[in-house]
Each structure stands twice: as structure tokens, then as C-alpha cells.
């Protein structure tokens, strides 16, 4: 995809990974906030990236919007125990 395409693209549908969580690599993160800006339920993903903590948030849909939008590959999905409880 060319760069103008990236800027114009609409949110895509992503596979929901019910047993996954979003994990940041803080060394790649420049705190631009694109992840937080694009989170459909308003989770501050960027703070997790600063602290190097997985997004263990009870409301996280694992929709993948933050993973897909991050321009620096900071975020990835990691499988978790299907029955693990998230924190709020």
C-alpha cells in the first residue's frame, strides 16, 4: 500500500482473538498516540506501551485496531489463557 493509501484508509475489520491480548515493545514506541487515538472504546494503549505492560483491560475487544494502526510495529497479539480474567 502506498503512503497516501495508508493515510486515507478506513478502519478495517479484524479477526477477533478472544484468547489474545495486545503486548507492546516499549523500545519501539515513540508515544505518538495513534493506538490510543484509534481505540474504539478509549483505552489508553499508549500508557501500556510506556510501561511495557500488556493491555489487560476488561473492556479490550482485541479488535486489532491499535495493532494495525501503529506505524512502528510496537504492538502485537499474544495468546493468553482463554479463561484468564482481565483487569479494569
Amino acid at each position: 500500500m502506498t503512503f497516501l493509501g495508508i493515510f486515507k484508509r478506513d478502519a478495517k475489520k479484524h479477526t477477533v482473538l478472544a484468547s489474545g491480548q495486545v503486548v507492546p515493545d516499549p523500545a519501539r514506541c515513540v508515544q505518538c498516540g495513534i493506538c490510543t487515538y484509534n481505540c474504539p472504546i478509549g483505552i489508553d494503549v499508549r500508557v501500556h506501551a510506556w510501561r511495557g505492560e500488556p493491555v489487560q483491560h476488561s473492556q479490550c475487544l482485541t479488535c486489532g485496531e491499535c495493532v494495525a494502526r501503529c506505524p512502528r510495529g510496537v504492538l502485537r497479539f499474544e495468546q493468553t489463557d482463554l479463561f484468564a480474567k482481565g483487569t479494569s
Binding site: M1, T2, F3, L4, G5, I6, F7, D25, P26, A27, R28, C29, V30, Q31, C32, G33, I34, T36, Y37, R46, V47, W50, P71, R72, G73, V74, R76
Partner: protein, 434 residues
């Protein structure tokens, strides 16, 4: 103890976090002259393209700052009185310190041509610069961009995204010639052209002309006249050394510090883009202009200021960025020589990327997925990953972890080797063992 930090960038904020992790009592003062305080400088690129609004660039809330319990002074330090341990400020009362951190960053090297003072001749250092660029960017109008490295492309892509016609001038025959190889430069240039950017090679500005004080054209040395409504430049950055010079601190290209981020004054530290940091592993002192090293240096400096002696061990620098829409990871040492489009280091850059290693090059890929490795005697010294980023994380770990790649070295250097597959297999075998 009374800790004072000059500079509201990531190094300064990380230093406060480090001090507070050890000490909740000491007084901390942060003095910053950026009217917007702490924000994501690299994120300005996405603000320019319109992917983010400006309010999204601030990673901290006022509550976060209250929790760190420091005093914020918006102002400009004009002098460090070392003997008295006092800072003089412009139009404000002096501030005393016991331990001082200089984290004032770097600034764009000014364009040195006739007409550079005209309105509409713009750089991209701060939030205020980005706002000024957007104020001048008009759909259908024409912009000229000069310079190299990541910032020149951020300007080019940002202005193009805002609907401007963009001419990008290169002094030499290719883009970012001392980090990218010829093929990689061509990939980027091709993608820029596809998006409607007009590239000019061997093009150098002779003078800028204006009307009513506003830039209206760039005359090139070959006589060509490019009409423009805006000219943006990114010809390199230079550490802000005025304070260190005035205070008589040791300087070279940056503010010289040892591995504890300490200057030649035991009560003064420096971190981030302003600091030229001694690396005990290589024996060299280098400049980086990267977010993560700035954060790590600031944190280490903060620990040392608070009394916990901690060395900063420089990891091989890496940056993940987007060049002409192509996600690109640059790891370790990858290039050589000088780049005619840059006077010094660029933003998002590291001098280490250009320290020529004793290594051989293995490369593979086609236009939008490219992988180049710099293979040392026993380890990988550097890598560029363009496009598909699946190998970016494994390579980051192999290079920063100095992992012995002897078992696959020969395979990597075979003609037409599928180096991506070799790395992927090595990585997964290694992971399944560990």
C-alpha cells in the same frame, strides 16, 4: 536535595521518573522553553499527514505530572553559574540546583541561502513548527522540500497528504545515501514518484526569491526556477550547546558525558539529543537522535542524580519508521560515508548506523519487501527490513543480544541465499530450545 532539569522532552520526563523511583522527598524542577511542554516529537509526522490531531500527541495528563510531584517552570535558562550552583533565566528569578540535568535536545541546522529569512521557509523541530507548516500548507499550491533523512520525507509526505504539489530536491543522485543502499533508495524514490512527488537530482538551491516578504520561488544553481508557496527544509540537526559552551563544560559535537551521563562537572549531567555519550563497549562517544535512547539516557541520568550509580550501556541503535509509506526498521550498523543532503546528524538518526563494520552484506527481496543484513564474524551487526516486518523483532533480538550466528553464517552468505528463511528458521529453532 534539589534536582533541576532543563528541557521538557522525553529525556527530562524519564529523569524525573527515575529520581522519583528512588526518592519521594527531593525537590525537582523542570524548566522548559517549548511552549507545548512534553509531547511526542516523532508523532508530529502523523500530525502533519492528518492521521492524528495535535491533542493526541501529549502522552501525559496533568494528573500524571501531579503524581510525579515536580515544579514546572516555563522559561528559558540563559546561564549556568557553576560555582554558585545557580541558573539564570530570561525575565525570571534565578533557580538554584544541587544536581542539574541538561536535556535541551537539538535543533534544525538553518538553511544558509539568500532568502532563507522569508516567510514560508519552514523547518520541523517543534509542535509550533508543525502548526506553522499546516498554516501555510494549501491544497493545490506548491511546496519545495530540501534535505535528507527521515524528517525530509516526513515533510514531503505530510505536505503531499495535505494536497500540495511537492518538489523534493536531492543534492546527489539518491535518497539517504549513507544509511540506505542504492536499491533501497530507489525503492523509496519510486514510491514517492508514484504518489506524485517530483524528484530533482543534483539539485541545489542558489537563492530563494520572495514577494511582500513571502517566499515565491527557489532558484537552483543550474538556473532552474521552481515557483513555490512554501519551502520546507531538513538538512540536519545540531545539539543545542549554547548553555554548555557558556558554562565551560566539555563539548565536542555534543555535550560530552561519560557512561554515567555525567559531564566534566560532577553535579551536571546531560542526556538525549544534546549529549554525546561515551560507549564503554566501543570506546567511542556518539550522538543519537532517537526517542528510546533519549528516554533511557534520561532515566539513567536521573538514577545517577539521585545517587544510584548506574552506567548507561548503549544498545545497538534501532528505529522503526515509515519511509514513503513503507515501514522500515533500521538496526545496528548499516551504512557508510556522508550524505550530501545532510550537514550533520538527522532526527531519528544515529551516528552508529554509519560506523563501517568489518562485515559482509547479505540481501534479498523485491521492491516492497527487502531485507539486508550486515554479517560480522560471529554476529549480525546490522539489518534493514523494509515492508514485511515479520523478521524485524527476531533481528532486533539477535542484533541487540549479540547472538552467535556461526551456525548460519555460511548459509547467509551463499549467493542467492533466502536469508529471510534462514533467519526465521534459526530464530524458531532457537526459541523452541530456550
Amino acid at each position: 536535595m534539589n534536582c533541576v532539569i532543563i528541557g521538557s522532552g522525553v529525556a527530562g520526563i524519564a529523569a524525573i521518573e527515575a529520581i522519583r523511583s528512588l526518592d519521594s522527598e527531593s525537590s525537582i524542577t523542570l524548566i522548559g522553553d517549548d511552549p507545548y511542554g512534553f509531547y511526542s516529537r516523532p508523532g508530529l509526522a502523523y500530525y502533519l499527514t492528518g492521521e492524528l490531531h495535535d491533542r493526541a500527541l501529549f502522552p501525559r495528563t496533568p494528573d500524571d505530572f501531579r503524581n510525579l510531584n515536580f515544579r514546572y517552570v516555563k522559561g528559558k535558562v540563559t546561564k549556568i553559574l557553576r560555582a554558585e550552583h545557580v541558573l539564570e533565566l530570561e525575565d525570571q528569578s534565578p533557580i538554584a540546583y544541587d544536581r542539574l540535568l541538561i536535556a535541551v535536545g537539538a535543533q534544525a541546522i538553518p538553511l544558509d541561502v539568500l532568502g532563507a529569512h522569508l516567510e514560508g521557509v519552514l523547518k520541523l523541530d517543534h509542535m509550533s513548527d508543525a502548526k506553522l507548516i499546516l498554516k501555510h500548507a494549501r491544497r493545490g499550491k506548491t511546496a519545495v522540500v530540501v534535505g535528507g533523512g527521515i524528517t525530509a520525507l516526513e515533510l514531503t509526505e505530510g505536505l503531499r497528504s495535505r494536497g500540495m504539489k511537492v518538489h523534493y530536491l536531492l543534492r546527489g543522485d539518491r535518497y539517504w545515501s549513507n544509511v540506505l543502499d542504492e536499491h533501497e533508495s530507489k525503492i523509496i524514490e519510486h514510491r514517492l514518484r508514484e504518489e506524485g512527488v517530483t524528484l530533482h537530482y543534483h539539485a541545489e538551491i542558489g537563492e530563494l526569491t520572495g514577494r511582500n516578504g513571502k517566499v515565491n520561488a527557489a532558484r537552483l544553481l543550474d538556473g532552474q526556477l521552481l515557483k513555490c508557496d512554501l519551502l520546507a527544509y531538513a538538512i540536519g540537526i545540531r545539539p543545542r550547546l549554547d548553555l554548555a559552551k557558556q558554562a565551560g563544560l566539555a563539548i565536542d559535537r555534543g555535550n560530552l558525558v561519560d557512561e554515567y551521563l555525567q559531564t566534566d562537572d560532577p553535579d551536571i549531567f546531560a542526556a538525549g539529543d544534546v549529549a554525546q555519550v561515551y560507549d564503554p563497549l566501543s570506546g567511542r562517544s556518539v550522538l543519537d537522535s532517537l526517542w528510546t535512547p533519549a528516554r533511557q539516557q534520561g532515566y539513567t541520568a536521573g538514577l545517577n542524580m539521585a545517587g544510584r550509580k548506574t552506567a548507561y550501556i548503549k544498545a545497538p541503535p534501532f528505529n522503526v519508521t515509515r519511509l514513503a509509506g513503507l515501514t522500515t526498521t533500521i538496526l545496528g550498523t548499516v551504512g557508510r560515508g556522508r550524505d550530501d543532503d545532510l550537514v550533520g546528524i538527522a532526527r531519528g538518526d544515529s551516528e552508529t548506523w554509519r560506523q563501517l563494520p568489518h562485515s559482509l552484506v547479505a540481501q534479498t527481496g523485491f521492491d516492497v519487501n527487502r531485507l539486508r543484513l550486515l554479517v560480522g564474524e560471529k554476529t549480525l551487526l546490522g539489518a534493514i527490513v523494509m515492508g514485511d516486518q515479520n523478521l524485524s523483532l527476531p533481528l532486533e533480538k539477535l542484533i541487540t543480544g549479540n547472538v552467535d550466528i556461526s551456525p548460519i553464517r555460511e548459509k547467509l552468505l551463499m549467493p542467492h541465499a533466502k536469508i529471510g528463511d534462514v533467519i526465521a528458521e534459526f530464530w524458531s529453532t532457537r526459541n523452541s530450545r530456550n
